[in-house]
């Protein structure tokens, strides 16, 4: 079984090589990309089932070296859950991008970069030491740089520049944190670090924790460090920004979860509480101020990250379980919102609210595809967002974190307000007479002329609904994940020595 673990990212890497060879044949590139992502998804599902059956993480040691000097991959429940949902989302977005027909997918570098992104994400989720986490981050960052500036147009280069510089600084911070952790403890393996860190001077431990929080917080776009995100994501084409919105910041959140639960349990919780509350509030206030669908959605990412940090700040099994569930709910939901935005932009040529009107009258299904994930993000009862928020808020009530409860409820309301802003601006109202009729020959045919894009989006909304329907067993699984994460010594015991 352990031989399968490296396949989750080796298959996409192999795909990178193959699709670079097939650089002139877009059809071949598509098949390679689809095949590699499907195979990786299948491997992840098999591994997750195995982990669940044996109640033990699958550990792969490259070259048979021990975990303190070799590269170790640890595939536990958290990695499994995130990988399955990540590959599912990437696969559906790929179908959407192919269906879009124009734009990014025409570039010969699109498919290799996309696969490299998948490989980086997969390696980050299952890496067993801090330095390898850095390397996986670099792989996915490099792929995301290319995807963001694929055509080298003016807007892309401008926003790409900000993004690349911010992430270079983040990489340097992470690398120095890795160096200092090694200097202080003499190991980088996540299995050995908890014991080694516990022996350190508390001041030194705080310093290391802050440095790691700074690096991962920049990646996850938490409150004081989020400014780059709304500037860089919206200029990318929709399928690309959908993947970025769904997955890239979540890798930062994943790293925060790992380091907080494993390396620094119950340390400096107040800082996380403050960061979580401010991230939620500032993100949603920023969203309300915007007038463009993509920018509203981008600011929402920030406020949703706040919810995930909130679960982490509350802590305990309940808090961490709610965070993991929120992550799983957020990835497909947010991505599908960006896909809907992509369809709007493809059909109307703009995402500015002032210029959109009456979309609901022209395409009822499209309005439905927007409404379901939007209500889910706001946390209304039948949808998956409700379960996640309920979990977060009960965990916070149990711990007496009343401020967080209040902020979370207020932000839910404000999320609804800003979603209503998109709804009123774009979907409601009369059909704009200025829309040239040739762009849309059959009224209500926005989706009919884009069957692949429409069905890909519908499929992703379906995934997000499935998360809601399977909320019971899924939340139980998240709880077991959280128990794994919050039990000290569990990770080290699972990794063990060969």
């Amino acid at each position: 079984m352990s031989r399968l673990v490296p396949l989750t990212f080796a298959l996409p890497l192999l795909g990178v090589a193959l699709s670079l060879i097939a650089v002139r044949h877009r059809r071949v590139q598509r098949i390679i990309n689809l095949a590699c992502l499907t195979a990786s998804l299948a491997v992840s599902v098999v591994l997750l089932v195995a982990v669940e059956r044996d109640d033990h993480a699958v550990v792969a040691r490259i070259g048979g070296w021990t975990s303190d000097i070799g590269i170790t991959y640890v595939f536990d429940r958290l990695s499994g859950l995130l990988l399955v949902i990540a590959f599912t989302t990437m696969l559906i977005v790929l179908v959407f991008a192919v269906g879009q027909g124009a734009g990014d997918e025409r570039s010969p570098s699109y498919h290799p970069s996309y696969l490299a992104l998948a490989a980086g994400i997969a390696a980050a989720f299952s890496s067993g030491d801090l330095f390898h986490l850095f390397v996986a981050f670099e792989v996915l960052l490099m792929a995301s740089y290319v995807l963001l500036t694929l055509h080298g147009e003016e807007g892309q280069v401008r926003s790409g520049t900000t993004y690349v510089i911010i992430n270079s600084v983040e990489s340097l911070l992470l690398l120095s944190a890795v160096g200092l952790v090694y200097a202080a403890t003499g190991t980088l393996s996540l299995a050995d670090l908890p014991a080694a860190l516990a022996e350190l001077d508390p001041g030194l431990r705080t310093g290391l924790q802050l440095l790691l929080l700074l690096a991962f917080g920049l990646k996850a776009a938490v409150f004081p460090l989020f400014f780059w995100l709304p500037d860089s994501y919206p200029t990318a084409p929709s399928p690309v920004s959908a993947v970025f919105a769904g997955l890239l910041t979540k890798v930062g959140v994943y790293a925060l979860i790992r380091t907080q639960t494993l390396l620094f349990p119950d340390q400096h919780r107040l800082l996380l509480v403050v960061v979580a509350a401010l991230t939620m509030l500032i993100g949603v206030l920023g969203a309300i101020a915007q007038g463009d669908v993509k920018r509203i959605l981008s600011f929402h990412i920030v406020s949703q990250i706040g919810y995930m940090v909130m679960g982490l700040a509350v802590g305990g099994v309940a808090g961490v379980a709610a965070t993991v569930f929120y992550l799983i709910h957020h990835i497909p939901t947010k991505t599908s919102l960006f896909l809907v935005e992509g369809i709007i932009e493809d059909s109307e040529g703009t995402g500015t609210l002032d210029r959109l009107s009456g979309l609901a009258r022209r395409s009822g299904p499209l309005a439905l595809l927007f409404a379901v994930p939007a209500l889910s993000l706001a946390g209304l009862p039948p949808f998956s967002g409700f379960v996640g928020k309920l979990g977060l808020i009960t965990a916070a009530v149990d711990r007496g974190q009343w401020v967080l409860v209040g902020v979370a409820l207020l932000v839910s309301l404000l999320t609804l307000v800003s979603m209503a802003k998109i709804w009123l601006g774009a979907f409601w109202g009369r059909v704009d007479g200025a829309t040239p009729p040739d762009r849309d020959p059959t009224t209500g045919g926005i989706l009919r002329t884009r069957p692949t894009m429409g069905s890909a989006t519908a499929l992703l909304v379906g995934v997000s609904l499935a998360v809601a329907i399977a909320a019971g067993p899924l939340f139980a699984l998240c709880q077991r994940t959280a128990e794994d994460l919050t039990t000290p010594g569990r990770y080290a015991e699972q990794v063990g020595e060969p």
Partner: protein, 152 residues
């Protein structure tokens, strides 16, 4: 640990940070490079006292080989990053004729709208996609010799 090495790391970090504070992309790239070298030296310094070779020990002592392996990886990644940043700067220069890191368009539009509203000026800039904050800077002299010139 060697004091000179520590001082050098400090100087590299300081210089890198200073350069990164600028708005011109070339200086930022230099800053990233300088600071990246500082970080690499920092990792080397974590490997313990200098002087002993990593594999065959001198007087029976081994230097820790792990940081040296780490730093090799970090250097390679740093090179790739620098190459990408340089190509980005070059692309920026061919498009704009400068290598300034600009503000986001929507941010500028929004700031201008706020200013217009507070001064109660009725003329509010329409949120048009192609409204730039200011006139585009002139292109570099098109003599075909510079990197911005036509590829001919």
């Amino acid at each position: 640990m060697n004091l000179a090495l520590v001082a050098l790391i400090g100087v590299l970090f300081a210089t890198g940070t200073y350069l990164m504070m600028h708005r011109t992309l070339t200086r930022i790239i230099l800053g990233v490079g300088v600071m990246g070298n500082g970080v690499n030296l920092l990792i080397i310094a974590t490997g313990g006292p200098p002087g002993s070779p990593p594999v065959i020990g001198e007087l029976g002592t081994f230097a820790d080989p792990v940081p040296q392996a780490l730093v090799l990886t970090a250097i390679v990644i740093g090179f790739a990053l620098q190459a990408f940043l340089l190509s980005l700067a070059w692309r920026n220069w061919t498009l704009d004729g400068n290598d300034e890191v600009e503000d986001d368009l929507s941010d500028r539009l929004m700031a201008r709208r706020d200013a217009a509203e507070s001064e109660a000026v009725p003329e509010v800039a329409p949120p048009d996609d192609d409204v730039a904050g200011e006139a585009p800077p002139p292109m570099p002299p098109d003599d075909g010799t510079g990197p911005g010139g036509p590829a001919s």
